[in-house]
Protein backbone atom coordinates (compact mmCIF):
# COMPACT_ATOMS: atom_id res chain seq x y z
CA UNK A 1 0.00 0.00 0.00
CA UNK A 2 0.95 3.62 -0.35
CA UNK A 3 2.65 5.60 2.40
CA UNK A 4 0.50 6.76 5.31
CA UNK A 5 0.71 10.31 3.95
CA UNK A 6 -0.44 9.24 0.53
CA UNK A 7 -3.25 7.16 1.89
CA UNK A 8 -4.29 10.05 4.09
CA UNK A 9 -4.39 12.26 1.02
CA UNK A 10 -6.59 9.78 -0.80
CA UNK A 11 -8.89 9.66 2.18
CA UNK A 12 -9.33 13.43 2.17
CA UNK A 13 -9.92 13.46 -1.56
CA UNK A 14 -12.76 11.09 -0.98
CA UNK A 15 -14.28 13.14 1.76
CA UNK A 16 -13.28 10.71 4.44
CA UNK A 17 -12.04 12.02 7.77
CA UNK A 18 -8.61 11.52 9.21
CA UNK A 19 -8.97 9.99 12.61
CA UNK A 20 -6.16 8.92 14.92
CA UNK A 21 -7.35 5.33 14.59
CA UNK A 22 -7.07 5.38 10.84
CA UNK A 23 -3.69 7.07 10.86
CA UNK A 24 -2.34 4.51 13.27
CA UNK A 25 -3.61 1.67 11.13
CA UNK A 26 -2.14 3.23 8.02
CA UNK A 27 1.27 3.25 9.62
CA UNK A 28 0.91 -0.25 11.01
CA UNK A 29 -0.02 -1.67 7.63
CA UNK A 30 2.51 0.27 5.61
CA UNK A 31 5.35 -2.02 4.56
CA UNK A 32 3.82 -4.68 6.76
CA UNK A 33 4.77 -8.01 5.22
CA UNK A 34 3.30 -10.15 8.00
CA UNK A 35 -0.11 -10.59 6.43
CA UNK A 36 -1.78 -9.94 9.78
CA UNK A 37 -5.26 -10.94 10.82
CA UNK A 38 -7.65 -8.30 12.11
CA UNK A 39 -7.14 -9.52 15.65
CA UNK A 40 -3.40 -9.55 15.26
CA UNK A 41 -3.38 -6.03 13.97
CA UNK A 42 -5.75 -5.00 16.72
CA UNK A 43 -3.40 -6.31 19.36
CA UNK A 44 -0.50 -4.32 17.96
CA UNK A 45 -2.64 -1.24 17.54
CA UNK A 46 -3.90 -1.52 21.09
CA UNK A 47 -0.39 -1.02 22.44
CA UNK A 48 -0.08 2.37 20.85
CA UNK A 49 -3.72 3.26 21.25
CA UNK A 50 -5.42 1.46 24.12
CA UNK A 51 -9.15 1.30 23.56
CA UNK A 52 -9.13 1.15 19.80
CA UNK A 53 -11.85 -1.29 18.88
CA UNK A 54 -11.57 -4.42 16.83
CA UNK A 55 -14.62 -3.19 14.94
CA UNK A 56 -12.72 -0.14 13.77
CA UNK A 57 -9.82 -2.29 12.64
CA UNK A 58 -12.18 -4.36 10.53
CA UNK A 59 -13.81 -1.26 9.10
CA UNK A 60 -10.59 0.49 8.22
CA UNK A 61 -9.12 -2.61 6.63
CA UNK A 62 -12.26 -2.97 4.58
CA UNK A 63 -11.94 0.61 3.41
CA UNK A 64 -8.32 0.09 2.44
CA UNK A 65 -9.36 -3.00 0.57
CA UNK A 66 -12.10 -1.14 -1.27
CA UNK A 67 -9.57 1.53 -2.20
CA UNK A 68 -7.19 -1.06 -3.53
CA UNK A 69 -4.57 -0.25 -0.94
CA UNK A 70 -4.50 -3.75 0.49
CA UNK A 71 -5.66 -7.19 -0.50
CA UNK A 72 -7.78 -9.69 1.39
CA UNK A 73 -6.63 -13.25 1.79
CA UNK A 74 -8.82 -16.13 2.73
CA UNK A 75 -6.61 -19.11 2.94
CA UNK A 76 -6.43 -21.95 5.38
CA UNK A 77 -9.90 -21.54 6.76
CA UNK A 78 -8.72 -19.57 9.75
CA UNK A 79 -9.08 -15.84 10.05
CA UNK A 80 -8.99 -13.49 7.12
CA UNK A 81 -5.57 -12.00 6.49
CA UNK A 82 -4.70 -8.61 5.13
CA UNK A 83 -1.95 -8.12 2.59
CA UNK A 84 -0.34 -4.71 2.19
CA UNK A 85 1.35 -5.95 -0.96
CA UNK A 86 -0.97 -5.38 -3.90
CA UNK A 87 1.55 -6.32 -6.55
CA UNK A 88 0.89 -9.49 -8.44
CA UNK A 89 2.46 -12.08 -6.23
CA UNK A 90 1.91 -15.42 -4.56
CA UNK A 91 2.54 -16.98 -1.18
CA UNK A 92 4.47 -19.55 0.75
CA UNK A 93 2.95 -20.89 3.96
CA UNK A 94 4.98 -22.46 6.72
CA UNK A 95 3.09 -25.48 7.97
CA UNK A 96 4.69 -25.14 11.40
CA UNK A 97 4.13 -21.51 12.19
CA UNK A 98 1.44 -20.55 9.72
CA UNK A 99 3.59 -17.63 8.63
CA UNK A 100 2.96 -16.24 5.17
CA UNK A 101 5.69 -15.09 2.83
CA UNK A 102 5.44 -13.29 -0.46
CA UNK A 103 6.59 -15.19 -3.50
CA UNK A 104 7.13 -13.82 -6.96
CA UNK A 105 6.60 -16.12 -9.90
CA UNK A 106 7.49 -14.85 -13.33
CA UNK A 107 6.44 -17.60 -15.67
CA UNK A 108 2.92 -18.51 -14.72
CA UNK A 109 1.90 -18.43 -18.40
CA UNK A 110 4.07 -21.45 -19.01
CA UNK A 111 1.83 -23.68 -16.90
CA UNK A 112 0.19 -26.43 -18.90
CA UNK A 113 -3.25 -26.84 -17.40
CA UNK A 114 -6.24 -28.89 -18.46
CA UNK A 115 -8.86 -26.29 -17.86
CA UNK A 116 -12.59 -26.86 -18.32
CA UNK A 117 -13.74 -26.13 -21.85
CA UNK A 118 -14.67 -22.49 -22.16
CA UNK A 119 -12.99 -21.38 -18.97
CA UNK A 120 -11.48 -17.90 -19.20
CA UNK A 121 -8.71 -17.37 -16.69
CA UNK A 122 -8.65 -13.98 -15.04
CA UNK A 123 -5.91 -14.57 -12.57
CA UNK A 124 -4.05 -17.37 -10.90
CA UNK A 125 -3.09 -17.76 -7.29
CA UNK A 126 -0.37 -20.11 -6.19
CA UNK A 127 0.36 -21.22 -2.66
CA UNK A 128 3.54 -23.07 -1.78
CA UNK A 129 2.99 -25.20 1.28
CA UNK A 130 6.06 -26.28 3.18
CA UNK A 131 8.41 -25.45 5.99
CA UNK A 132 10.95 -22.80 6.67
CA UNK A 133 14.09 -24.71 7.63
CA UNK A 134 15.79 -23.56 10.79
CA UNK A 135 18.45 -21.06 9.98
CA UNK A 136 21.98 -22.22 10.67
CA UNK A 137 22.52 -18.66 11.85
CA UNK A 138 25.84 -18.39 10.07
CA UNK A 139 25.69 -15.22 8.08
CA UNK A 140 23.32 -12.89 9.79
CA UNK A 141 22.80 -11.40 6.39
CA UNK A 142 19.10 -11.13 5.92
CA UNK A 143 18.71 -12.94 2.60
CA UNK A 144 14.98 -12.55 2.13
CA UNK A 145 14.48 -14.23 -1.17
CA UNK A 146 16.29 -16.31 -3.69
CA UNK A 147 15.22 -17.34 -7.17
CA UNK A 148 14.84 -21.04 -7.58
CA UNK A 149 12.90 -23.69 -9.35
CA UNK A 150 10.18 -25.50 -7.47
CA UNK A 151 10.87 -29.05 -6.42
CA UNK A 152 8.41 -30.64 -4.11
CA UNK A 153 9.94 -32.84 -1.47
CA UNK A 154 7.45 -35.65 -1.80
CA UNK A 155 3.98 -35.64 -3.13
CA UNK A 156 2.95 -38.06 -0.45
CA UNK A 157 -0.58 -37.29 0.60
CA UNK A 158 -2.79 -38.75 3.28
CA UNK A 159 -2.18 -42.22 4.68
CA UNK A 160 -4.18 -44.22 2.20
CA UNK A 161 -3.98 -47.93 1.94
CA UNK A 162 -4.40 -50.27 -0.94
CA UNK A 163 -7.79 -51.69 -0.27
CA UNK A 164 -7.12 -55.31 -1.05
CA UNK A 165 -9.42 -58.10 -0.10
CA UNK A 166 -13.14 -58.44 0.34
CA UNK A 167 -14.16 -55.83 -2.16
CA UNK A 168 -16.27 -58.38 -3.97
Amino acid sequence: MHSPAEVAARYKEQGRRLTPQRQLLFSLMHNNASHPTAEGLHEVASKRMPGISLRTVYQTLDELSDMGEIQLMHGDGGALRFDSNVDEHHHAVCAETGELFDVYVDNIESLRAQLPAGFEVQNVSIVFHGRLAKKKSQTTTKSPARPQTVRAKSTKRSPRRTSRGSTK
Copy 2:
Protein backbone atom coordinates in the same frame (compact mmCIF):
# COMPACT_ATOMS: atom_id res chain seq x y z
CA MET B 1 -12.39 -41.74 -3.10
CA HIS B 2 -12.79 -45.47 -3.31
CA SER B 3 -16.05 -47.17 -4.17
CA PRO B 4 -18.72 -47.34 -1.47
CA ALA B 5 -18.01 -51.05 -1.11
CA GLU B 6 -14.31 -50.47 -0.67
CA VAL B 7 -14.83 -47.69 1.82
CA ALA B 8 -17.27 -49.88 3.70
CA ALA B 9 -14.61 -52.57 3.86
CA ARG B 10 -12.07 -50.12 5.22
CA TYR B 11 -14.58 -49.02 7.84
CA LYS B 12 -15.10 -52.58 9.05
CA GLU B 13 -11.38 -53.22 9.13
CA GLN B 14 -11.09 -50.30 11.46
CA GLY B 15 -13.85 -51.50 13.73
CA ARG B 16 -16.23 -48.82 12.62
CA ARG B 17 -19.89 -49.68 12.11
CA LEU B 18 -21.77 -49.53 8.88
CA THR B 19 -24.78 -47.35 9.35
CA PRO B 20 -27.30 -46.39 6.69
CA GLN B 21 -26.22 -42.77 7.05
CA ARG B 22 -22.62 -43.59 6.30
CA GLN B 23 -23.47 -45.82 3.39
CA LEU B 24 -25.62 -43.14 1.87
CA LEU B 25 -22.87 -40.56 2.21
CA PHE B 26 -20.33 -42.94 0.71
CA SER B 27 -22.46 -43.27 -2.39
CA LEU B 28 -23.18 -39.56 -2.59
CA MET B 29 -19.52 -38.65 -2.42
CA HIS B 30 -18.28 -41.36 -4.75
CA ASN B 31 -17.38 -39.85 -8.10
CA ASN B 32 -18.82 -36.58 -6.89
CA ALA B 33 -16.96 -33.84 -8.71
CA SER B 34 -19.06 -30.99 -7.37
CA HIS B 35 -16.88 -30.25 -4.34
CA PRO B 36 -19.97 -29.92 -2.16
CA THR B 37 -20.24 -28.16 1.15
CA ALA B 38 -21.53 -30.00 4.19
CA GLU B 39 -24.86 -28.25 3.90
CA GLY B 40 -25.11 -28.98 0.22
CA LEU B 41 -24.42 -32.62 0.76
CA HIS B 42 -26.87 -32.67 3.62
CA GLU B 43 -29.62 -31.33 1.41
CA VAL B 44 -29.05 -34.02 -1.16
CA ALA B 45 -28.80 -36.71 1.49
CA SER B 46 -32.01 -35.52 3.12
CA LYS B 47 -33.97 -36.37 -0.01
CA ARG B 48 -33.03 -40.00 0.18
CA MET B 49 -32.96 -40.15 3.95
CA PRO B 50 -35.18 -37.56 5.60
CA GLY B 51 -33.99 -36.85 9.09
CA ILE B 52 -30.30 -37.42 8.58
CA SER B 53 -28.59 -34.75 10.59
CA LEU B 54 -26.13 -32.17 9.41
CA ARG B 55 -24.01 -33.17 12.37
CA THR B 56 -23.66 -36.68 11.00
CA VAL B 57 -22.69 -35.35 7.60
CA TYR B 58 -19.91 -33.33 9.18
CA GLN B 59 -18.75 -36.29 11.23
CA THR B 60 -18.69 -38.72 8.36
CA LEU B 61 -16.89 -36.31 6.08
CA ASP B 62 -14.31 -35.78 8.79
CA GLU B 63 -13.81 -39.53 9.07
CA LEU B 64 -13.39 -39.85 5.32
CA SER B 65 -10.88 -37.05 5.42
CA ASP B 66 -8.94 -38.70 8.24
CA MET B 67 -8.90 -41.91 6.23
CA GLY B 68 -7.57 -40.09 3.20
CA GLU B 69 -10.66 -40.86 1.15
CA ILE B 70 -11.49 -37.22 0.56
CA GLN B 71 -9.77 -33.89 0.82
CA LEU B 72 -10.84 -30.74 2.60
CA MET B 73 -10.84 -27.44 0.79
CA HIS B 74 -10.90 -24.08 2.45
CA GLY B 75 -10.96 -21.52 -0.27
CA ASP B 76 -12.91 -18.37 -0.68
CA GLY B 77 -13.70 -17.92 2.97
CA GLY B 78 -17.15 -19.42 2.65
CA ALA B 79 -18.03 -22.90 3.77
CA LEU B 80 -15.58 -25.76 3.75
CA ARG B 81 -15.79 -27.92 0.65
CA PHE B 82 -15.17 -31.61 0.34
CA ASP B 83 -13.25 -33.06 -2.55
CA SER B 84 -13.68 -36.70 -3.48
CA ASN B 85 -10.71 -36.44 -5.78
CA VAL B 86 -7.55 -37.13 -3.82
CA ASP B 87 -5.26 -37.20 -6.82
CA GLU B 88 -2.77 -34.40 -7.11
CA HIS B 89 -4.76 -31.76 -8.87
CA HIS B 90 -5.71 -28.10 -8.80
CA HIS B 91 -8.84 -26.03 -9.25
CA ALA B 92 -10.61 -23.52 -11.39
CA VAL B 93 -13.25 -21.33 -9.76
CA CYS B 94 -16.00 -19.61 -11.66
CA ALA B 95 -16.38 -16.11 -10.26
CA GLU B 96 -20.04 -16.04 -11.27
CA THR B 97 -21.32 -19.30 -9.91
CA GLY B 98 -18.64 -20.25 -7.43
CA GLU B 99 -18.44 -23.66 -9.07
CA LEU B 100 -15.22 -25.57 -8.65
CA PHE B 101 -13.60 -27.62 -11.38
CA ASP B 102 -10.67 -29.97 -11.21
CA VAL B 103 -7.60 -28.93 -13.14
CA TYR B 104 -4.57 -31.04 -13.86
CA VAL B 105 -1.23 -29.32 -14.24
CA ASP B 106 1.71 -31.39 -15.32
CA ASN B 107 4.65 -29.03 -15.19
CA ILE B 108 4.50 -27.34 -11.84
CA GLU B 109 8.21 -27.99 -11.35
CA SER B 110 8.92 -25.56 -14.13
CA LEU B 111 7.67 -22.60 -12.12
CA ARG B 112 10.37 -20.08 -11.35
CA ALA B 113 9.60 -18.81 -7.90
CA GLN B 114 11.50 -16.54 -5.55
CA LEU B 115 10.93 -18.49 -2.40
CA PRO B 116 12.12 -17.40 1.05
CA ALA B 117 15.62 -18.63 1.82
CA GLY B 118 15.45 -22.05 3.42
CA PHE B 119 11.87 -22.75 2.45
CA GLU B 120 11.23 -26.40 1.65
CA VAL B 121 8.23 -26.87 -0.59
CA GLN B 122 6.02 -29.82 0.25
CA ASN B 123 3.26 -29.21 -2.18
CA VAL B 124 1.80 -26.49 -4.32
CA SER B 125 -1.80 -25.54 -4.81
CA ILE B 126 -2.94 -23.52 -7.76
CA VAL B 127 -6.30 -21.87 -8.21
CA PHE B 128 -7.39 -20.47 -11.54
CA HIS B 129 -9.92 -17.70 -11.02
CA GLY B 130 -12.10 -16.83 -13.96
CA ARG B 131 -15.37 -17.46 -15.68
CA LEU B 132 -16.92 -20.33 -17.52
CA ALA B 133 -18.06 -18.85 -20.81
CA LYS B 134 -21.63 -19.61 -21.78
CA LYS B 135 -21.75 -22.66 -23.94
CA LYS B 136 -22.87 -22.03 -27.51
CA SER B 137 -24.70 -25.32 -27.07
CA GLN B 138 -23.58 -26.57 -30.44
CA THR B 139 -22.17 -30.00 -29.92
CA THR B 140 -23.80 -31.52 -26.92
CA THR B 141 -20.63 -33.51 -26.63
CA LYS B 142 -19.56 -33.20 -23.06
CA SER B 143 -16.01 -32.02 -23.54
CA PRO B 144 -14.96 -31.80 -19.89
CA ALA B 145 -11.40 -30.71 -20.23
CA ARG B 146 -8.93 -29.56 -22.80
CA PRO B 147 -5.19 -29.08 -22.45
CA GLN B 148 -4.09 -25.53 -22.89
CA THR B 149 -1.60 -22.99 -21.81
CA VAL B 150 -2.62 -20.41 -19.30
CA ARG B 151 -3.12 -16.89 -20.51
CA ALA B 152 -4.65 -14.46 -18.12
CA LYS B 153 -7.08 -12.02 -19.66
CA SER B 154 -5.84 -8.97 -17.86
CA THR B 155 -3.96 -8.69 -14.64
CA LYS B 156 -5.97 -5.62 -13.76
CA ARG B 157 -6.51 -5.56 -10.05
CA SER B 158 -8.45 -3.21 -7.82
CA PRO B 159 -9.35 0.31 -8.92
CA ARG B 160 -6.24 2.07 -7.72
CA ARG B 161 -5.38 5.57 -8.64
CA THR B 162 -2.11 7.31 -9.11
CA SER B 163 -1.92 9.37 -6.00
CA ARG B 164 -0.58 12.57 -7.41
CA GLY B 165 -0.60 15.84 -5.65
CA SER B 166 -0.41 16.81 -2.02
CA THR B 167 1.89 14.05 -0.93
CA LYS B 168 4.09 16.48 0.93
